[in-house]
């Protein structure tokens, strides 16, 4: 494992504001995890595509999640990028990630079987095969193993 990036405390306020606004506007159900400096920097660099941020249930890791397609498409397989951070904002390479999810209200999973297909470096991992087949509230769950620790991170968001 490696800490692939250092802290970038610049532009903290603006990025924080942008993230909070996104979480509010998107009706994101993620509990308001405080984004770290790195997470904020990554979110800032993402231009107009929103980035979700969420803390692990055990607090070992922080994840950011970003779709390659915006707005989120229905009935189309597409990819996401997930980044893994320590709680204090350092990016983590060589993490093991498993992804699954679905619509808890409807008690079904994805119609596809998404997978983490590549480690992109700089704490980033590619998630392929994501497909939303109906509008509504969806969840993406990540089981994360890194630095000898396990954690589970649950993102919740609306597909229009």
């Amino acid at each position: 494992m490696a800490f692939a990036n250092s802290l970038n405390p610049g532009k903290l306020f603006l990025t924080h504001l942008a993230l909070v606004l996104w979480l509010y506007l998107a009706g994101c159900g993620a509990s308001s995890a405080e984004p770290s400096a790195d997470a904020q920097a990554v979110a800032k660099s993402a231009d107009s595509v929103p980035t979700l941020t969420q803390k692990g249930q055990k607090g070992h890791f922080m994840l950011t999640l970003q779709s390659e397609a915006h707005p989120l498409p229905l009935q189309k397989i597409h990819s996401w990028t997930v980044r893994v951070f320590t709680p204090d904002g350092r990016l983590i390479d060589d993490a093991q990630l498993m992804v699954y999810g679905g619509m808890p209200e409807h008690k079904h999973g994805f119609q596809s079987q998404p997978r983490v297909t590549a480690e992109l470096g700089n704490g980033a991992y590619r998630v392929d095969g994501v497909k939303f087949n109906m509008p509504g509230r969806w969840e993406m769950w990540f089981n994360v193993r890194a630095m000898g620790k396990d954690d589970k991170v649950i993102f919740s968001f609306d597909v229009p």
């Binding site: 009935q75 079904h108 596809s112 997978r115 087949n133 109906m134 509008p135």
Partner: protein, 482 residues
Amino acid sequence: MINSTKLVIASEAQQSLDSKSVAWRLLRYRRVSFRALRSSFMPSGCNDELIGASLTIKRYMVLCLLALLVQPASAIGETDQSDAPSWTPAELATLRSLWIGSLPPLPPDRSNAVADDAGAAALGQKIFFDIRFSANGEVACGSCHQPQRYFTDGLGQAEGVGKTQRGAPTIVGSAYSPWYFWDGRRDSQWSQALGPLESALEHGGSRLQYAHLLRDDTDYRKRYEAVFGPLPDLSDRQRFPDTAGPSADRKINDRWQAMTEQDREIITRIFVNIGKALAAYQRRLVPGGGRFDAYVQALTEGEDAVSTEAALSRDEIAGLRLFVGKAMCIRCHNGPMFTDHGFHNIGVPFAEGLNRDWGRYQGVRKVLKDEFNCLGEYSDAGKEDCAELRFAKTARDETIGAFKTPTLRNVTETAPYMHSGQFASLDEVLEHYRRPPRAPIGHTDLVPIELTAEEIEQLKAFLHTLSGPPAVAAELLSAASQ
């Protein structure tokens, strides 16, 4: 004096009607004030100005009575208008997502290099309606996919040379689907078309039989070679028997196995090209709009247009509201094809006399090892074009007893319903959704829905608005023009 009074009355009456019209429009948007409404309800000609215009009480009463006589007719029209529901911007967006106008251009089929080739489509159309492509010379694709029945056959279980276990779904708009057959055991239109041709219960023929037919028929040979290049010489019947191919028929299968691998490959290429030509024709069968689509179009062009003949009835609109709301139909029947192209276990009972049907659980396993799938050697696609297959869900709990969500376009014209025609009518279908039974295999995705008898009727009324002929030239709907 009398003339000028009449003019005043006419002018006032017009103003009153105008204000009434405005008030009703406001009411539709739930922003109307009581005062505006009260003045609108007052009969035309009964206002303070006229009383003060030196009219006698008697004349005033006569005018009021006349106005009351005139009023009901216009008021009835206005009342109907007020019943047109107002849709929120979010609801309007939902309606537009179902609208035929939201149907994107035909998605490219990268697994089929001739998908958009006119010559291939013409060849495919000829094959589609040709009963020689069967074991008994009586079954064509068009036997079960009948154009006059929206490309279905009205049967619960399709009948070819034998009787199958599943219904023949419509093929209109199927080019938009990533999966074919009720269990999704094929992943392209061309590979789907090959299934029935070799099924012992459907066409009952073999790939050698079809290859010979193309080679020996002058017109077929000409059309085929124009698209796919020269057909090989198949005249050596020792090498290329009349009938041979992978088949449940042991003799046909044994002859196939006795052929060399190279010869089998030659024949399979021809067979695959038949599928690709059939797909080139079938992908042109795209749906047309129904009255629902005219309604949404009118809504998008401005509320007033709804009062035209495009408008739906009160019950149909109520049904639409249920469809996108309380009845939760839209969860799976979404998008302009009214399907999520997914697989769900909705606990439909097994058809009488038929075996347990595992649906998608078996379908996904078949397609993953299918020689004709997107990643296979006969596909023209690259790996990156095969995301649906590469990321197909196989989990037992989520595939067992699941079947593909069918389109609801023309649903009222394509009974019976479900994968084996278990339900004869929409009443039976809606009763199933209202009170879903325990699934005969796996677990049902459905939850009970509180729907009154009136609401069931409204939903049915709405479903009738989804009917419309395919948006294709008439010559594509028969073999006549060949």
